[in-house]
Symmetry: D2
Subunit: 305 residues, 4 copies
């Protein structure tokens, strides 16, 4: 498996009454995304409320997504968020999600205890990669974890045959420059946010896992194509519009914003799992207005389907 | 229950071969601590490797500790670390640990997603406190979580009848000054580290949960008594020695250091659970030399027992 | 000269029309402070708007303060803020201020360029101390400079015969514990803020340079005396009141707040030098109400003089 | 004047014996740069050791640079670093540098006192821009100042007729995306570092002020041209090489590294002004090897001249 193109890190659907996961809603959502040009989905990443979802629930959600992909005869890959705090649980989660059909495992570094630093992070990733039946994708997300996996460590880990890439959400373009251009073979670098998708592409990222791609996958696709064709002015304009939507759906309104926008678009968004709260109505209104102002709907015909 | 005096946040014993928890070793350790003047123990706090231990394991460990306390006819309270990322799991963990004998529940704020800030933290704590069968102690630990529960929020939460105090490990003495002097009734403020136990006492903390108290509970006691008696020069000297040991057992060598020192002292320290690593031999040697240099062993006769 | 007791870091008076310094107003203010129990004054420290005041202006202000001290036959020491970005200017400023009557020089570390770290800081302080005709006091103020002078570096510098102490405004009580208890001879540690004066005393600080002492010197004195006598409950109460005033005059309202409160108290506060702005009237009102709520006026009879 | 293309923020030459500035060496250096395709020079920016150079010295250095530009009949613009801590000094410095021939003034925000935030920053910039006889370029340099001028404030300031642009060295591509695409007329956005020159161009930056352009101006030019022509693969490769050199000359070796590399290239680098130290010989050797490994010399024929 090669990390390439555009992935959506999809939300986890919960039942409004019981708070339980809804694999059926997951299947319906994935069926909708299957008609887009998305290259893959991340199930139970940060946007899938990873810390709130148990290992068993993650397996059910992966299975539901995989079923929908298969039924739709889509080629989308499924990457599962398999981080657990203890190494043995993280390995077990990789195995369980592999059993449920995941193609790869997205893995955060240890982060509650920070003293062991990059030495500890490297050992953790190697221990997991050695034992995981599916390839591992490093997940660098310092805003949430307080830990940045540095460029030297990513390069070292890129030599591991079962580590195939990194999703970098640090936003640090010096780091992106290093890791996208200096790594071992069979390793890909993914941009972790639509806020700087084009800058990351310009440095050699092979694609991205973008929260904004839950709603605007074709906009991201047009941007990627404009970049590849060297249509830089077109790419710049698309990036600004995509960033505006991306920033709303990440830093400003976050997962509750994505879910609200999905509900409006006829997908199942639904409530978040507490302690993550839902958007109040006036925030939804503001979010929708701001999203509409980007005009990116014009590229997203699939939502009408 | 009133938070007062000196608590030890005790490590979780794991089997070296299987990596499983060892409730028996927990019982033996607690039996040893029962002859000290400790007022209580925290089971499965940060020093108990909280993020690596499941809800069921926490219950077993609490039960083991409680049994040992009961058999020893000790008055030590047992506070359980009951934080889980999802609110419903955190509540369930409070219930399970109450069933196992915990007297109170130590609770971190939500921290992977940081956007909801103090509003989200307050709602989380109130939801948990409303549902928990045992009183809740707020646990402010910004170095690990990246989130500081601010003084205004702590004051608001102090009004809740089922929230009895806060363990503050921010090290911010302005914040400590506010929260120790301006809160609602039936609320106590605990210092979270031996690094600044005396400064916290000087501001009105009613005691502390101190990693260093796993090995030096009587040193902490002498310090507390010197402070209470107004023997400030004596207290200053003890604080410097206690801080030296505390800093080694927290910022410098952490949980692996505490476990190594426990092994040396005839308690069960044992290995940490991965990804937390153990101390290499030369680090142990340095740690032991530095601990011995504090001379605090003179106060810790119980270890001979 | 030995750093001991309570110092006020006094504001710099500016003319409202021209923006020029007012040495006459400085003299009048110092004459007022001369009847208090203050042990010394800091002229052109952070509260003296150090970065906005030229070397020549600093000399004039020091001279004015020194004159007033002499005329009042007061024993107050004058410490001058002599930091300049270039080493040679910092040395020159020490000389010029010595010529104007300063007893010691308060010196920040280099901080615009941060790459040289503690090695560079140490060299800077040693170069200045070697050349300065008056003793140097290290000034650790990370909130303003972004640089913390660490405990190991402070210990090394404490061996220099012309470095007599440190004013630590880091608020880090672990650091305070180290530096107050582990340094070479003839070196004193001063607390840099009334927000944590008592905690610093409890660790061995010999006194403090406190913004709050511009208005509440006798309150700080009573606190210090209560601490020395071991009246810890009394000290705790005073610290809470002093902290409330201190926090208003530092983190909340800053230098503009001190100047407004001085105007109200019959001292010359006057305007700040731009870009530092003055307090709007409603902020003044709130500040005054909050200051009055501390009730500390009861100790400050000198203001009636 | 429109900010466009590639500027070098040139170092300030100091005499090794006296430590005084050397306007003659400045003229010689500028004469060398005048044969490159550089669009302009920044005199007394951060790389010109701005905080260590007095207002009079800045004027002399600007005059020297301007003379050399005139004699060489070069079209290079001269931007002067005119920040001073006090508003009135900053304005005076703009006037003095205008008198010496500067075309524009590069201005940091106030940063020693941070409490007034963006409101204070905005007032400062407006006061300076109102009084300055030359256009003002905002200078956002959070790594050195600890203050980030946020996107909303930059947009507001872009409406001022005498503020013509911003040099953004935050490295934050979300911010770059906003400010490069959403500002008032006659305002340009410059990238502040070669570490992310291409990413900034991809978002709409009109050029950059790049430390690396002191030595590799033509490499930066080729990169800019490749970007403009849509040769994205070529641009990516150049960016990686330029970044490698840029990172060495900024984060890794800083101004001392630039000066050492200039000495090697036959320009006048010379010593830094203390407290900025010079590179030891082994560091120089490592730096030169790493610079040579980029192979960018091939583009820099002007250095042979």
């Amino acid at each position: 498996m090669v990390l390439e193109g555009i992935y959506a890190p999809i939300p986890t659907p919960f039942d409004a009454a019981s708070g339980d996961i809804l694999p059926g809603a997951m299947e319906e959502n994935v069926t909708r995304w299957a008609v887009t040009t998305l290259d893959g989905l991340v199930v139970c990443g940060s946007n899938g409320e990873l810390p709130f979802v148990s290992m068993d629930e993650r397996a059910s959600l992966v299975r539901a997504a995989k079923n929908a992909v298969a039924r739709a005869k889509s080629g989308m890959n499924i990457i599962a968020g398999t981080f657990m705090n203890a190494t043995r649980d993280a390995i077990e989660c990789c195995k369980v999600c592999e059993g449920a059909g995941a193609d790869a495992a997205l893995m955060l570094p240890p982060h509650y205890f920070k003293a062991s630093g990059m030495v500890g992070a490297r050992k953790f990733f190697e221990d997991v990669a050695n034992a995981s039946p599916i390839p591992v994708v490093l997940y660098n997300m310092p805003a949430n974890t307080g830990v940045n996996i540095d460029a030297a460590t990513i390069k070292q880990l890129s030599a591991h045959p079962n580590i195939i890439g990194v999703k970098d959400t640090s936003g640090d373009m010096t780091q992106m420059g290093y890791i996208a251009n200096d790594h071992h073979e069979n390793f890909s670098v993914f941009c972790g946010s639509g806020n700087y998708f084009l800058p990351a592409l310009s440095l050699g990222a092979s694609g991205g896992t973008l929260a904004v791609a839950n709603l605007y996958p074709e906009s991201a696709r047009f941007l990627l194509q404009a970049y590849v064709r060297g249509e830089n002015e077109e790419a710049r304009k698309l990036q600004y519009r995509l960033m505006s939507a991306s920033d709303l759906l990440t830093r400003q309104y976050g997962v509750p914003g994505i879910k609200a926008a999905m509900d409006r678009a006829g997908l199942y968004g639904g409530p978040c799992r507490a302690p993550m709260g839902d958007l109040p109505d006036d925030a939804k209104r503001k979010l929708f207005e701001s999203l509409d102002a980007t005009g990116l709907e014009e590229y997203e015909k699939w939502r009408l389907g």
